[in-house]
Symmetry: C2
Subunit: 329 residues, 2 copies
Amino acid sequence: MASIRDVAQKAGVAISTVSKVLNQYPNVSEETKAKVNEAIRELNFTPNTIASALSSKQAGRVALLLNLNTQTQAIDEIDMQYISGAINKAQEMKLDVITVFFSMIKDRDVYGIVNYLKAQSIEGIIIYGMSREDKILHKLIEEQHFRIVVVDAPFVNPNTSSVQIDHEKAQYDVAKKTILENKGNKILYIAGKKNGFVTKDRLDGMKRLAEEEKLSLLVRQGDFSEKKARQLAFQYARSRDIVVCASDLMAIGAMRALQEMDIFRPVCGFDGITLMGYAGKQMNTVRQDFYRISAEAMEEMARLLEGGEGREILLDYSIIRMQYLDIIC
Amino acid sequence: MASIRDVAQKAGVAISTVSKVLNQYPNVSEETKAKVNEAIRELNFTPNTIASALSSKQAGRVALLLNLNTQTQAIDEIDMQYISGAINKAQEMKLDVITVFFSMIKDRDVYGIVNYLKAQSIEGIIIYGMSREDKILHKLIEEQHFRIVVVDAPFVNPNTSSVQIDHEKAQYDVAKKTILENKGNKILYIAGKKNGFVTKDRLDGMKRLAEEEKLSLLVRQGDFSEKKARQLAFQYARSRDIVVCASDLMAIGAMRALQEMDIFRPVCGFDGITLMGYAGKQMNTVRQDFYRISAEAMEEMARLLEGGEGREILLDYSIIRMQYLDIIC
DNA sequence: CTGTTAGCGCCTTCAG
DNA sequence: CTGAAGGCGCTAACAG
């Protein structure tokens, strides 16, 4: 591997000069710039990111912090979209990415986590799927040792931005569409996890709709679990007109139950994962573009790393109807 | 962040001494070791991996090279298992991991890729899902600039190991089980992609069984595509007794077609992905534990990085029957 | 067994 | 506009 020294030598300039053209500094004549670039090309030189990070103390390294649900592979799709969206955008922005799972840091305290990350010269963290219970992460955010972007959780401070869709409105929209299409006013709403941030937002959307439309609303916690939703559907769906679920996975569980009971009730979901296509019936759902959400999160991270202030970002979504033939290829 | 210097100062020893206890070198008295460790704890010191990597030229950084199929989110599950298996094991072995997608390097030549990776101090690469067409990767392997572990492809040289299950035998086993359970001797075999390495292995297994059992074997390329398999099933399944597919996704496509045609034929798949549980019918399949395969690959990588010689590793698998209630939670 | 001394490859003032 | 010099945090001979 050619080093910056080789380049300097070949171009007949000082190392520092090469460094300057590498980092787009001003005060370098076009002439020498050309010479240097020529040498770089000839030697097929790529600067060593490790050395550059060490030296500048500014690595541009960001960690993806994922709450992997090892139980439910069915929604690995979401995490995969998160990961690829972030990584691709990071490459575009010339940021380094490492992937970290909650499980890897779960028995450390804030200080331990900060150390673990600082030791790797991490400057930014994107957190996916945090819940109200993750106290340590809340602290991490508060203490502002890092630039942080939180996906789907309402945290904002000078070093922290939040990125998400408007869950309240999305839940309202998809439920409304489903209800208008089918009429019926007794709703079974299968909500998410008690301590999830989006759970409340979505429930609020549902409640608003219920009030507006004078619906009878029965709310049960489905914990984002397919099995739980299935049980709840068995238990309550018969006496209800429509089943609104706070996630696709739960919608699938509910739909299965209905099929087994051999009764029909419209069901709608939330997320827009491919699996919905396998549900057996068409269903309305909110399509979140996780890839894009994550890419936006990374872009926001880049902004923060440049010194930008934390802020809240709301992304758009769409209401779609999923069916089998659309998803296969 | 405390640095090694602070520790040395606090412990009243030289920096190099601290380094030695950090890296478990011999020739350090228990006494000073204790002093140093004490200082480390007090200062809450974690060595800077970046600096250590730069200095030792031995970063222990490995890249995960994944061929993400953006079309088929349904099998993101596999990639996710690969990623988490590798990352978790890497943390255990104190290796650094970065994730790279084929798409990120697809327009570079070998030299460009080597540079890209070397610039990041990557020493090892684990390659997932390579096909015969990825000529550049073949070259990368041949040139041995890195330690490489290839999953599901038969490459071995002093710096390269291969890790996979015995696809030939697995295909043989699952097909045999399905055939014995159902009897029938006209088989439709929906094979994988023309240039996939496992495609041939699996096909060989099927052929061996066909010979042994005197089966009539009709082979068609399904390209690992659910849609294609669906079409093939529409076209050929009626005149066949049993449908053997080289992947779960294709098995699902075939099963769908059969349901739409309203005829029954036993179908078996390969992989053991969760999605199989949503197929509507129970099916036999080969369960590959992708998480474990990837973890083993990372372990093998650690061995290579320690100077071990490349070799072939065959992992085991099991034949299972998947059904809905087993997979939900 | 411990400390001294060079770097690793690059960035960054600061003179010239 | 360019180059010399020091240093980032750590490792690795080499003396002592």
